[in-house]
């Protein structure tokens, strides 16, 4: 039995500890916001937070999350009003939208660690998440917007 705090709630999971966290979330826990893009840690669509740090859930076994805290896009905010989510809406960031949960989770970890990131810091942090629709420039603008004092107050 593996104990994981998932989106703030303690869960007991009777699952094979080798199961990648991605599939635990999507198939066992009904949380399909975290996406499968490659299964090899190359695209970042599966990014979640493990104790606040961004990880590729496709390459993270459930055992690595034992006794720790996992946050998914569904748990980023209770009402979809995290400053990044609001900024993403104002800047109309998503197009197909498939990579965006991974983008937002990566950005959320960035600004939690670096509240006012520079362009270079954004680029370094965000280059691990592929966007086939090329929304990169709008992502950067949205991160700046969310990180600004007005943006943080929602």
């Amino acid at each position: 039995m593996i104990s994981v705090t998932l989106n703030g709630e303690l869960r007991q999971l009777d699952l094979d500890p080798d199961t990648p966290l991605l599939w635990v979330l999507r198939d066992h826990l009904g949380l399909t916001g975290t996406k499968y893009g490659c299964g090899e840690g190359e695209c970042g669509a599966c990014t979640v937070h493990l104790d606040g740090a961004p990880v590729k859930s496709c390459s993270t076994p459930l055992s690595a999350a034992a006794g720790r805290s996992v946050t998914t896009i569904e748990g980023l905010s209770p009402d979809g009003r995290h400053p990044l989510q609001l900024a993403w809406i104002v800047e109309d960031v998503p197009q197909c939208g498939y990579c965006q949960p991974g983008q937002i989770m990566t950005a959320a970890a960035l600004i939690a660690e670096t509240p006012r990131p520079s362009d270079a810091q954004i680029e370094a942090a965000m280059s691990g998440v592929l966007c086939r629709c090329g929304t990169y420039n709008r992502i950067r603008r949205a991160i700046h917007r969310a990180a600004s004092p007005e943006g943080r107050d929602g």
Binding site: D16, T19, P20, W23, R26, D27, H28, G30, L31, T32, G33, T34, K35, Y36, G37, C38, G39, E40, E42, C43, A45, T72, I73, E74, G80, L84, Q85, W88, I89, D92, V93, P94, Q95, C96, G97, Y98, C99, Q100, P101, I104, I122, E123, A124, M126, S127, G128, V129, L130, C131, R132, C133, G134, T135, Y136, N137, R138, I139, R140
Partner: protein, 733 residues
Amino acid sequence: MAERCPDGHLSRRAFLRLGALAGGGLALAIGLPAVAATPTPDAPDAPDTKSPEVDCSPNAWIHLHGDGRIRLILARTETGQGVMTALPMLVAEELEVGLDQLLVELAPADPAFVNRLLGEQVTAEATSVRDAWTTLREAGATLRLLLVRAAAESWGVPESDCRAQRGRVLSADGSRSLGYGELAAAAARLPLPAQVPLKASPAWTLIGTQQRRLDTPDKVTGRACFGLDVRLPGMLFASVERGDLLGGRIRGWQSAAARRVPGVVDVVALESGVAVVAETSWAALRGRRALAVECRSDLGRAGDSERLGARFRAALGGRAAVAEREGDVSAMLDAAAHQLESVYAVSFAAHACMEPMNCTADVTPTRCVIHVPTQAQQGVLETARRITRLPAERIAVHTTFAGGAYGRRREQDFVAEAVELSRRLRRPVQVFWTREDDLTHDYYRPMTLHRLRGGLDAEGRVSAWYQRIVGPSILARVQPSAMKDGIDRLLVQGAVASPYDLPCRRVEYRRADIAVPTGWWHGGGYVHNVFAGECFLDELAALAAADPLDFRRRLLAAQPRHLRLLDLLAEQSGWNQPPAAGLARGVACVTAFDSLLALVAEVALDGAEVRVRRLVCALDCGQVVNPGNAQAVVEADLAFGLSAALGGAVTIEQGRIRQRGFAALPLLRANEMPEVVIHLVGGDVAPGGLSGLGVAPVAPAIANALHALTGQRVRSLPIRVGEVAPGASGGAG
């Protein structure tokens, strides 16, 4: 039937049908007129003015319920291109409602939802807005008129004393008002008007304004349902092992080990491979790895990029079908003061949608329900009919959001797998492809080879232009009836119907079918042909000692819209000012889908690494529906074109695709995204298509900039600095 021509115009107006809904509502359907007499081009079809008390709701586009809900049935797939917002804007504008007052649902598969430009219900080739532009506005205007009329009648006042605003009809002094829902039943009984005037553009409050996309809130919370997110009660997951050989067939496999994996329910042999079916995705993947398949292919030496290249080179001479011809090119080339010949090569490319292929099917003996991110709802319906033998009315097709599409989701291979598995297992089944499956079992952008010849007269003007395109035919597989005189329009797009003044020209197509599966591609044949054509145009400009942009201007002297665009681009890109040290500029243009786009790329070289610093773009797509989304779509296409220009090539060796994951097939990342500046030129003409337009000019603009930087010509795609060009012979350059 309406003209089927994604690069042309509609020649028939749609007609409307009105019916009552239970509960005091009404439904408005849009249909094609029945083909009676031969229509003349100038006689519009009379709309059906009868309004039978028929429930036409199954294929209606707009449902207005007695409780005031307005449901707009969206007949096109939201793939990221913004149709889910643009099309409702057209209805809302004329209907006098806010976007927030519309409930948008994706349409089922039904002939009523045909895309008249393409002849079936499909979202592709930048046609959605062009197809809907007049139709949806007319539908909205008609509905508004009927509602106003119903209110006026109930109040006993002239219609002109009433106005519609945000879903209500108000009397002149505003003292009385009725909501659309309250008026629906009465409106449903009114005869349809013969003609409904549409708003003139100065009266628009929505069209042409920046509107936030309707799908964004769900996409930033993870609530948006893509194909892979579909969950049905009792659903199983299936992963199909197809072997790693192109054209391969599975000859043997070990199912015992697969069946022992906890969660695996069955191992089923399909046409395309062996499916491991399980309670969870992970169990299906684990089971599949235990299959130990033996795969064989007859492809042999036909599955090898190098050998295909040699075959294509041999096809640069000899017979070919003529796609376009005017004047005597051979004679003019012989007589030219200067002439030039070059060969351009375009490799295979993979679609690489962010969401890999998938389909969910639930088949019983009496009905079939499919949930799928598809571009081709009618195709899905036909696939399901073929496999289940159920009639169309027993088959439901639900379209989900699509994580990218690019033409790949017009295909039916993943649909057939899901329907067949569900039919056999009598359980709902989701077939999901891995990234490796998706990259190695694609219908690739075809490889093509281009031979271009050009002649200049003594004044440096183009006196002759010749292009031969060698490549497989896509239409021969997907729509053979659309082949005309041996020409595949998808392969010659962007080479024919050039806006440039080329009075003596010849475009040939030499069909070279190959065993590698090829298919529709984002940006279509424009990607190949504009690469070759715009690069060669620069070569001719250099031969004429002319500035490339000026050279194009001279060839566009009779095209005012193009001239305006180039002038704007020259000004905004600083073309006539020297670039910063180490930077060079290249220009390329595309005319497609009734739109024009011109692009300047600013490029630097970092060793052998090409760095694109900035892309400056001028776009004339006629009337823009949603300017913010237009910019986003163009930026997306520029990024897509960058990946295609500088990113991974797909190569095939001994029947195997070499690039099986993103590590081997790099796509553009955030740290490689240039600054993008897009200038929209407004237009008082109907909207042109946008999706895919910006892909084609990226590679040639970069190639042309690289020449300015290095003096070397790039003649292959993807671009590799320092590689030997496939061939240039005859003439300077």
